[in-house]
């Protein structure tokens, strides 16, 4: 059975691209979220095997969303999506409970590597 | 019209004139379709017709070329020898190659109790940017002629010389190759 994924990013562009990468590799993207609070809500509903989480989002940021999700489910497998220059934020996200991170610009191979690492 | 190459011409009759236009400018040959009048437009404009969902403005050939009005609609009895053709209102497309002018007898389509019999030729204007309908009495032939067979003569009785691009001959009869852009463009507003 393929793994289910929740894709969180405020840009449709990014969601589309991540979803395409994952779908082509056989993952099942079961939901998308545009804000941190949506991510938390959808995580609760969908219980996906994996979450990809943008760091900078309106409403509730990605890091706060990670904290919320980990509070609900300490085993949540969250992959942060960050941009260059977000060293400090990435560190914060990992401390908050994110399992790994990828850096934009995304190369499909790197995204899939990171996903494999997270899913162990 | 290059002097060397071979030109394909569509020959048609309007009143007493035998006219021709390059076949490549002919989009389609249709039976006469009943037009919807456009208020304010000059009499030379018959109106607009529906060609499979596209609206085409139609010009009356006989008025544009100052010919006599075609014969009034024929009574239901078939005209001398010509087979009655079925005339569905919006007729299917006909290829310019085969559409009209088979043999001698001009096809008389349309006019089921309507006004004037005849044929509508859809002509490309302005390098294909526009398409106008042009009513003719009948389509006569599709000819391939060498460019050298056409004369650049323009003065011909019964027609405005500025509308004539060349003159040719078919079976001993003179025909004029019309400058359709010059004839039709001034009819459109802009």
């Amino acid at each position: 059975m393929s793994h289910t994924v929740l894709v969180c990013d405020d840009a449709i562009f990014m969601r589309t691209m991540i979803s395409d990468i994952l779908a082509q590799a056989g993952f099942e993207v079961v939901g998308e979220a545009e804000t941190g609070s949506q991510a938390v809500e959808k995580y609760r509903q969908l219980k996906p095997d994996l979450v990809t989480m943008d760091i900078v989002m309106p409403d509730m940021g990605g890091i706060d969303a990670v904290r919320e999700i980990v509070k609900q489910d300490p085993d949540a497998k969250i992959l942060m999506c960050s941009a260059m220059g977000q060293q400090a934020l990435v560190v914060e996200a990992i401390q908050a409970g994110a399992k790994d991170f990828v850096v934009k610009p995304f190369q499909p191979s790197r995204v899939l590597e990171a996903v494999q690492r997270v899913l162990g | 019209m290059s002097d060397a190459g071979v030109v394909r011409l569509l020959l048609f009759r309007v009143g007493n004139l035998l006219c021709a236009t390059e076949a490549e400018r002919v989009r389609e040959i249709l039976p006469r379709l009943e037009p919807t009048r456009i208020p304010g437009a000059p009499p030379v404009v018959a109106g607009i017709v529906n060609v499979r969902g596209t609206l085409v403005t139609v010009v009356e050939g006989w008025r544009a070329l100052r010919q006599a009005a075609p014969a009034p609609p024929l009574p239901p009895a078939p005209a001398s020898g010509s087979a009655p053709s079925p005339a569905p209102a919006p007729a299917p497309a006909s290829d310019p190659m085969t559409g009209g002018g088979a043999g001698g007898g001009g096809e008389r389509v349309g006019g089921e109790g309507g006004d004037v019999a005849g044929t509508t030729v859809l002509l490309e204007l302005d390098g294909g940017k526009k398409v106008l309908g042009f009513t003719v009495d009948e389509v006569v032939d599709l000819l391939s002629v060498g460019g050298e067979a056409l004369e650049r003569r323009q003065a011909l009785p019964g027609i405005d010389p500025t509308l004539v691009r060349a003159v040719g001959r078919r079976a001993g009869q003179l025909f004029v190759v019309l400058d359709t852009d010059a004839l039709l463009t001034p009819i459109l507003s802009s």
Partner: protein
């Protein structure tokens, strides 16, 4: 992977974010002490950066990165807006917009942002100077050996791949994973240095517990991007890459938004148009045949095509903010340039209209707004002298009215000097030399004359003619109307009314003699029936009085030159456009139906009262009357 398929999406979304930036900058400019917009700006620029990097647009990425840097500093320092900072950020935003457009057009090498980049960096350096010491700096050099007191545990030395991005994050991840095996001590450089941008990817730590060196290495490597790991002095070569997941199975349908090229929607709309026409034909056939089975199918086809049509029209509907959002910036820039003070407000941003109409609205609105700033709003000094607030007000409003949308531009400026316009109109012979006043309607007609806005008019008649003819032509072409209300000293309002959609409209079919005409319901207020004896003459025009209002009549039969005599009782279609009304006298009302609006090549001489044509159920064309040309 092929990125070109994402270019449209990138462009559309970048434009949205950059448009939002404009609004945020304006908000910030209005309330400089409130730093709330900065967070939004940072996010928007950040998002554009991420997208551009993914598309491989290096210059956009670079510019966005520098702007983001500056915004980050501003945000952390919660600094108020200064004029210089705002100007710089506006410039950066404009530069980004330009760079995005050029990149998508494949003209990336034409992007020249050196100056704004230098200014952004300069501003960032100045701000960072203020905050110096607030953040840790990295420790350059080779991974240091652990010195000092010996602590228990194995020494682990890690080197991350040179090309790995965000090495600090990777290092933190490695440490976190190692912690699952034992306690971590003596991290070198200290963890806080990982957060610095120039951390070079080499670090070491001691790990307690009983884990085997192989396990430690495996766990550290599982953080990813690890080049070398040395555990307890025993070096290991890097293991081969972990293979990616096997790509098996196709994803299920996912719910997500997509963006559709307008051309495709147009194509779809054309097809629906043909379907609607065929449906009409089918309905007529069904009515002729009286076969219940055909009837059933016809009814189903009708229902399905109506639903399809509604869906597609809905898909074409676009909120007006997509065009309105660029105006606040425009008004601001214009006001600054002209030394005016203007508070600009937008109301009804969420109102939706057909995308094809919206695309045409930009220019007319631009003309009206420019006029309002330039000629409507007085200078601050002037306003004070007249006892007004120095700051003028311009309001752009969209309101839904029946099947149309009214969009107005209102200013509280000086209004239009009717006497001057009248004098001029008389001189040019536009109005009767004995006319004593101009109604709003006449005023507009004078102003909308092409060429009325000569240099003299600009100075003496407050130049209201500028662009009105352009706006008027555009609006009329869309089947809309333009109205004006103006009061000297109080201000001017222009109202444009437009149909909500262009492609398929509901219309009344009117019969005049043997002919049929379609009249879109957009501006139809009601239909009434009158006899000839009930009409009166008002101001030399035949009219009826309807609930105490005079409605001038237009006899379609006469106007269109249809031969024959009218029936004794006339159906009258009352059209209403803003304050203007008109009664269209026809022979008969043949019903209502959806019509597909099509263009046709109008011959010269065609009466200017048609907005297009349509095809009726029987396949015959019918002309569509343009309410704007009749009222």
């Amino acid at each position: 992977m092929d990125l070109s398929q994402y270019a449209e999406l990138f462009l559309a979304e970048s434009r949205e974010h950059l448009s939002a930036c404009n609004q945020l900058l304006l908000d910030w400019e209005r309330a400089p002490a409130n730093p709330a917009p900065v967070g939004g700006l940072f996010r928007a620029v950040h998002t554009v950066k991420g997208m551009a990097a993914t598309m491989g647009y290096a210059r956009v990425t670079d510019l966005a990165h520098r702007a983001e840097n500056l915004l980050d500093l501003v945000r952390r320092g919660a600094r108020p807006a200064t004029d210089d900072l705002l100007q710089l950020l506006f410039r950066a935003r404009d530069g980004l917009e330009h760079a995005v457009e050029l990149s998508v057009a494949g003209r990336e090498d034409e992007i020249d942002v050196a100056e704004v980049v230098a200014d952004l960096d300069g501003a960032a350096a100045a701000l960072a100077g203020v905050r110096s010491g607030a953040r840790p700096t990295a420790t350059p050099g080779p991974a240091p050996e652990v010195a000092g007191p010996i602590t228990p545990g194995r020494l682990v030395q890690v080197t991350l791949r040179a090309e790995a991005p965000l090495k600090g994050g990777r290092a933190v991840l490695a440490l976190k994973k190692a912690r699952s095996l034992g306690e971590i001590h003596d991290v070198t450089p200290p963890e806080v240095a990982f957060e610095a941008e120039d951390f070079d990817g080499r670090f070491s730590f001691r790990i307690g517990g009983a884990a085997a060196p192989g396990d430690i290495e495996r766990v550290v490597r599982s953080a990813g991007d690890v080049e070398h790991v040395t555990v307890g002095g025993e070096e290991r070569r890097p293991a081969p890459e972990a293979p990616g997941p096997s790509g098996a199975g196709t994803p299920d349908a996912r719910t997500r938004h997509i963006r559709v090229d307008l051309g495709r929607l147009d194509g779809l709309m054309d097809l629906i148009g043909e379907l609607v026409t065929v449906r009409g034909r089918l309905n007529e056939l069904a009515a002729e045949r009286r076969d219940p089975a055909i009837d059933d199918v016809a009814i189903q086809v009708s229902r399905l095509s109506s639903e399809l049509q509604a869906e597609i029209i809905q898909a074409r509907m676009t909120p007006v903010w997509q065009v309105f959002d660029r105006f606040p910036r425009l008004v601001r820039d214009l006001a600054r340039e002209l030394g005016k003070q203007v508070a600009f407000r937008v109301e009804g941003k969420e109102i939706e209209v057909d995308r094809a109409i919206l695309d045409e609205l930009g220019d007319p609105l631009l003309h009206l707004l420019r006029n309002a700033v330039d000629h409507g709003i007085e200078s601050p000094a002037d306003r004070k002298r007249r006892g007004k607030k120095p700051e003028g007000e311009i309001v752009l409003t969209a309101v839904r009215e029946r099947a149309s949308v009214a969009i107005s531009v209102r200013d509280d400026g000086r209004g239009i000097d009717r006497a001057k316009v009248l004098a001029r109109a008389k001189r040019e012979g536009i109005v009767d030399a004995h006319a004593e006043a101009l109604t709003d309607d006449q005023l507009l007609r004078v102003l909308a004359r092409p060429g009325f806005s000569t240099a003299e008019a600009v100075t003496s008649v407050s130049g209201r003619g500028v662009g009105i003819d352009v706006a008027m032509t555009r609006i009329r072409a869309l089947g809309g109307s333009l109205d004006i209300r103006t009061e000297a000293g109080k201000g001017t309002t222009f109202v444009m009314r437009l149909p909500v959609t262009l492609a398929i409209v509901r219309a009344l079919i009117a019969g005049v003699g043997p002919e049929r005409y379609a009249l879109p319901l957009t501006y139809v207020a009601e239909t009434v029936e009158f006899g000839v004896q009930a009409t009166t003459i008002v101001e030399g025009r035949e009219a009826i009085v309807l609930r105490d209002r005079v409605v001038p009549l237009v006899h379609l039969r006469r106007l269109l030159g249809v031969a024959g005599d009218p029936p004794a009782r006339w159906p009258i279609i009352v059209l209403e456009m803003g304050d203007r009304r008109s009664g269209i006298v026809v022979d008969g009302m043949l019903g209502q139906q959806e019509i597909v609006v099509k263009g046709f090549d109008a011959p010269r001489g065609t009466l200017p009262v048609f907005s297009g044509a349509t095809i009726m159920g029987d396949g015959m064309p019918a002309l569509i009357l343009d309410a704007g040309g009749l009222v």
